[in-house]
């Protein structure tokens, strides 16, 4: 498991244990990865997060366009593995859980434990911290060096 902030780890660990999910990805509504378990290549996680956030965003927009109440979770049932996409509210905005699970569990149980995960994360979320300097004033030299390396020029 890899989490952006340590306080995410305990609720996610409990969810993995209880739900028997195989892969879990937590992301913000704009597709930024918050935590993941089960992915083998970090950059592919970002692609999955972008696509998952896109599905949830378009589902919410369909509801808005059709004047429907907010639509909930999205489930794709596969022959072996299935995928649940579950948006939930956090103090800092909407997060989305992408959960891949197999026949050893059920969509109902995964959704139930996913609701518990959302509640546990909300309870564990720390107060917003005061702003602190992140980047040094002269970061542009390092940025230019990185880009030159990337493009080989």
């Amino acid at each position: 498991m890899r989490a952006i902030e340590p306080w995410v780890e305990a609720p996610l660990d409990a969810f993995l244990r209880e739900s028997s999910a195989r892969i879990v990805l937590l992301m913000t509504s704009s597709g930024q990865v918050v935590a993941q378990h089960g992915f083998t290549r970090s950059l592919d996680v970002m692609a999955a997060a972008a696509l998952g956030a896109g599905i949830i965003a378009s589902t919410a927009e369909i509801a808005r366009v059709m004047s429907l109440p907010t639509l909930g979770n999205v489930v794709h049932q596969g022959a072996g593995l299935s995928v649940l996409l579950a948006p939930f509210s956090m103090p800092a905005g909407t997060w989305v859980a992408l959960v891949v699970f197999g026949p050893e569990t059920t969509v109902g149980l995964v959704q139930l434990f996913c609701a518990g995960l959302a509640a546990d994360l909300t309870a564990a979320a720390p107060q917003p911290r005061p702003a602190a300097p992140i980047l040094a004033e002269q970061f542009e030299d390092e940025l230019n060096a990185s880009l030159r390396t990337l493009f080989g020029r």
Partner: protein, 199 residues
């Protein structure tokens, strides 16, 4: 807002390539994807129509290495340019930390550039973004076409670049200006992050 992980010292930013249909947004990402070593980029995801026009978005995660002690990643997105896809364009723009406005330099496409720019401004305002301070870079693409068919960067600046933000001529198909545009946009996004976090 960029996602900053203080524990692992990582920064992740979202950069969106905007502009009218067929202006070269996807071409920018394809060029970057082709030039950057595999270890520094993820898989490029393209949700396109059968005609290879962007349907939802293109996505390319890029690892910029360590900057000020933070591992810095940029997630590059394109929006579908056609007017028809206004709804999906709004979705992709959500949470953007910066925008590259890819304008088509052809004189006959000028109105479409203007319409796309208005659409961008409307969407940013709808999302509560202060467009006066939002990181924005213009790329005037297709400057390789015959001079009689295109507008000069100066003429495009005068007509489109009201804020006087950085603007760069480009030929995205051959890569001219692609690197410079990315450098300019990433610098603006990180400058804003530095200003916001330090204030």
């Amino acid at each position: 807002m960029p996602l900053v992980n203080f524990t692992a010292r990582e920064i992740t930013c979202k950069l969106v390539y905007y502009g009218p249909g067929r202006s070269g947004k996807t071409t920018n990402l394809q060029y970057i994807h082709g030039r950057v070593p595999e270890s520094k980029r993820g898989r490029m995801v393209s949700l396109a129509t059968h005609g290879d026009r962007t349907l939802f978005f293109d996505f390319l995660p890029l690892d910029l290495g360590t900057i000020s002690g933070f591992t810095t990643r940029f997630q590059l997105y394109t929006v579908p340019g056609q007017v028809y896809y206004a709804a999906t364009r709004r979705l992709v723009l959500q949470g953007a930390d910066g925008v590259v406005m890819v304008a088509d330099s052809q004189a006959r496409r000028f109105d479409e550039n203007l319409e796309s720019l208005r659409d961008l401004q409307d969407n940013l305002i709808d999302q509560g973004v202060d467009i006066r301070t939002f990181p924005l870079v213009f790329q005037y693409n297709k400057q390789d076409l015959p001079p009689e068919l295109i507008l000069s960067p100066e003429a495009l600046d005068e007509s489109l670049n009201f804020r006087g933000v950085p603007s760069l001529p480009a030929d995205a198909l051959r890569g001219t200006g692609v690197f410079e545009t990315l450098r300019s946009a990433t610098a603006l996004v990180l400058q804003r992050l530095a200003q916001r976090s330090g204030s």
